[in-house]
């Protein structure tokens, strides 16, 4: 197949393009044509289709997420140094330190291939944190599964738990908390949410942008393979006929060793002050990194795609743009610093290649062996995707559901019945001891885990001298959220807030992972908007902002959506971790008095 260049696209306006196969709607394809004033090249089509997907563009949720902006953008501890829109939110915690934290989902990949799906979920969130300039210091993993005794849970759960452990343990990040919850609605759609916390000095904060004409764009980390580009392969389908099909794996395999090198290498690059802007490559791969870095910058960007080191030489330029190969980062570096940059990468055995530079054209221009295959305004790819106002409506069954109150259930009427009920409760998978999961996670590495399982919040010491630390908890009760998404979201927030507060830390900021069914279902969309309304109101009442998060839609099996699951993570600050309050009743507490607070 000959390369579909920009001039070719201009001279062949009527070529049929596989936009529908790439998930674009007719009006979206027309909009791309309007933006460009011509048909897109196949590379441009690939970029737009990926960046305008639900996952990258938040097209169904954008209008609602905006409401988080109504919450005052101050935390009780101080300024927010970066908020929604950056790779992760950053909060000033005093003494010159800042923390960044974020939770993200990797639900669908974890169903297809539990071990690798969960592992690469951890990998992705950790790269978000390092891209901010922070050292990752802890991870957490809110999980949801179908019934414990269902056959598919036996396939899914062990893989997911060992994937999270396998990746996090190999990175040397303590796992300081999470959730393990079972409900039938998650049977065909488990939830794997991963949270990472990072710490940095204020001056180390790095934002994702490419500025400064002549600055060099360096791609570093793993080589690019055909990972996760399933649908885009239609663009290269003619290559298949010629050279025999090179299969494009839908599943990505994580390489935690590579990621550990990437962490240490990146932190050394920051410390050496040789990076201007930086971005991790996650969903959307190079399409996302190039268009987002360029549109956040003040100029344009030119990239030679043939300079991208490949694991599979048969990849087409469209596929290289789409590849979601893990463990890659992209940095903007001044020409003087390129040599020092490459040297640090070499020390860590990390491949690094200059693949482009910042220009003054304001355009994102991508070449393939000297021919121009992309020429677009980067904002149109990164930020001007479609925005949907999806219909939403309180479902007709909501009243009936709410009327079915717990007070109608039979009560235990004897001591023996009460005993049975209690035993049933504490033996239930949702309430029982979770050490069968958490013992597979390293909670000690880095030597700063002040609280981890079975505590209500994890707590990490940030400064060994002053004792400054942070506490984080994640919570959500999906059954509450189904009964009343507004109150359910508030309850998730309140529970997480309480869990942090009871350790002695002061809650200061929120991250959230909104796991819902299909946004095309008005009932689900209603749950979603209600949950956001609940979070916004709750945050206003508590005086803490939402600093970032993630939306995961289409979590459903056939027509059955999962329980609405707005997982809330709250972060708190504690001046002196030696004054933390652990849970439980230990021998040294003998003689202490017990109080019940609240109504």
């Amino acid at each position: 197949m000959s390369t579909d260049t920009v001039s070719n696209a201009t001279s062949t306006p009527d070529v049929e393009q596989p936009w529908a196969e790439l998930g674009l709607k007719p009006d979206e394809y027309q909009r791309i044509r309007d933006i460009l004033g011509r048909r897109p090249t196949s590379c441009e089509l690939a970029m737009y289709s990926v960046m305008w997907s639900e996952h990258c563009s938040y097209k169904s949720s954008k209008v609602h997420l905006k409401r988080f902006g109504e919450i005052p953008q101050e935390t009780p501890a101080g300024k927010m140094l970066a908020g929604i829109g950056e790779n992760a939110g950053v909060i000033d915690i005093g003494e010159g330190y800042a923390v960044t934290f974020k939770v993200e989902s990797h639900n669908h990949p974890s169903y297809v291939e539990p071990y690798q799906g969960a592992a690469t979920g951890v990998g992705g969130i950790v790269r978000d944190i390092i891209a901010m300039g922070a050292r990752p210091v802890a991870v957490m993993d809110p999980l949801r599964f179908g019934p414990l005794d269902a056959p598919d849970t036996k396939r899914v759960l062990p893989g997911i738990v060992s994937g999270i452990g396998g990746y996090g343990n190999s990175l040397g990040l303590p796992n300081i908390g999470g959730e393990v919850v079972f409900d039938p609605t998650y049977l065909g759609n488990p939830l794997v949410n991963a949270l990472c916390v990072g710490v940095m000095r204020h001056e180390d904060l790095h934002l994702a942008n490419a500025t400064g004409v002549g600055n060099q764009m360096i791609l570093y980390g793993a080589k690019t393979g055909g990972d996760g580009i399933g649908g885009v392969s239609v663009l290269a389908s003619e290559t298949f006929a010629e050279g025999g099909p090179t299969k494009r794996p839908a599943v990505q395999v994580g390489d935690p060793f590579m990621e550990k090198l990437l962490i240490e290498c990146t932190l050394e690059l920051f410390a050496a002050n040789v990076v201007e802007g930086i971005q991790d490559l996650g969903g959307g791969g190079l399409s996302c990194a190039t268009s987002e870095l360029a549109s956040a910058g003040d100029g344009g960007m030119r990239v030679s795609l043939d300079k991208v080191p490949l694991r599979d030489a048969s990849l087409s330029p469209e596929e290289i743009l789409m590849s979601e190969s893990q463990e890659r980062m992209m940095a903007c570096v001044t020409p003087e610093n390129v040599e020092a940059f490459l040297k640090i990468c070499e020390k860590w055995d990390v491949q690094a290649d200059v693949i482009g530079e910042v220009t003054d054209t304001g355009r994102l221009e991508i070449d393939w062996h000297g021919e121009r295959v992309v020429d677009v305004l980067p904002e149109t790819v990164a930020h001007e995707g479609p925005v949907y106002h999806r219909p939403y409506e309180r479902p007709s069954w909501q009243d009936e559901l709410q009327a079915d109150g717990a007070e109608k259930l039979p009560r235990a009427s004897s001591g023996a019945e009460l005993r049975d009920t209690l035993l049933k409760l504490i033996a239930s998978p949702n309430l029982c001891d979770k050490s069968w999961v958490t013992d597979q996670y390293d909670r000690y590495v880095l030597g700063n885990s002040v609280l981890a399982q079975p505590e209500d919040s994890g707590m990490i010491r940030v400064d060994e001298t002053s004792g400054l630390g942070v506490a984080v908890s994640t919570d959500c009760n999906g059954r509450f959220a189904k009964l009343d998404p507004y109150t359910g979201a508030k309850l998730a927030l309140a529970e997480s807030f309480r869990n942090v507060a009871t350790t002695g830390a002061r809650p200061v900021a929120v991250t959230d992972c909104l796991n819902f069914g299909s946004p095309e279902d008005p009932a689900v969309m209603w749950q979603f908007t209600e949950a956001i309304r609940g979070l916004v109101d709750g945050c206003k009442e508590l005086g803490i902002p939402v600093t970032g998060g993630n939306v995961s839609f289409y979590n459903q099996t056939g027509e059955t959506a999962i329980l609405p699951t707005p997982v809330v993570g709250v972060l708190g600050v504690i001046d002196d971790v030696t004054r933390r309050t652990p849970i439980g009743f230990t021998a040294e507490m003998e003689g202490h008095q017990l109080y019940l607070l609240g109504e």
Binding site: S162, G165, G166, N169, S170, L171, G172, D255, P256, F257, K260, L261, K347, W348, D349, T438, D439, Q440, Y441, D442, R443, Y444, V445, L446, G447, N448, S449, V450, R461, E464, V577, T578
Partner: protein, 222 residues
């Protein structure tokens, strides 16, 4: 008194080992796998982690690092060397210690507070413990099961070279072995992590500190 801690690509508990050395009163020195120079240290710790991802066999690739050549030579001359977890695996792969470490018998990573009995308190790293001292420190690993042939195991037992034994075998190690030493008692390999039990705030106990205070005395005495 300087204790060097080697960082291999994929080392994870190197910072913790340095912290533990400092808590014990030593000066901790970071050593780099690619640098054969030991920078004047008096003892070396090979820390825990997943060097080179443990993708081939735990410790198999690290043992070829330039720094290991010097360490092997100096260990032969009597310098104290402690390999913790992945470090123990590197020592076995380097043939500084006999036997090998294979996957836990339950095949899972395990992280728990583990009780041990110190069986040899005459090594460079265990002299601060009493004979048969029972301690609880952190165990966390994937490939922690110590194996060797019967003759080797008999020899280790006969020569008193089993340094520590598990109380309740967590991983299928032959004869409950948690740690061993070489003939001379200067090289010790230990699967559990003493460096994670040096302060009560972040560890289960402070029982691990003895390894680091022991070596201070050993170095001063020599």
């Amino acid at each position: 008194m300087k204790i060097g801690v080697v960082t291999f690509p994929g080392s994870l508990d190197d910072v913790d080992a340095r912290r533990a050395a400092a808590v014990a009163g030593a000066e901790a020195v970071a050593l780099w796998h690619g640098d054969a120079d030991l920078h004047g240290v008096d003892a070396v710790v090979l820390p825990g982690g997943f060097s080179y991802g443990d993708y081939l066999r735990a410790g198999a690739i690290s043992r070829f690092a330039p720094v290991m050549e010097t360490i092997i030579k100096r260990a032969g001359e009597g310098m104290p060397v402690l390999g913790i977890c992945n470090g123990f695996q590197v020592l076995c792969e380097s043939h500084l210690l006999p036997g090998a470490l294979i996957k836990n018998h339950h095949r899972k990573f395990v992280c728990k507070d583990q009780a041990l009995r110190i069986e040899n308190n005459s090594t460079a790293w265990t002299s601060d413990y009493d004979a048969n001292h029972e301690i609880t420190i952190v165990l966390k690993n994937q490939d922690g099961s110590y194996v060797a042939d019967e003759a080797t195991l008999d020899r280790l037992e006969g020569e008193g070279r089993v340094v520590a034994r598990y109380l309740g075998n967590p991983n299928g190690s032959y004869r409950d072995i948690a740690g061993i030493t070489n003939e001379r008692g200067n090289v010790v390999g230990l699967m559990p992590h003493p460096e994670h039990a040096v302060e009560t705030l972040t560890g289960p106990t402070t029982d691990g500190l003895g390894f680091f205070t022991s070596v201070l005395k050993a170095v001063v005495a020599s």
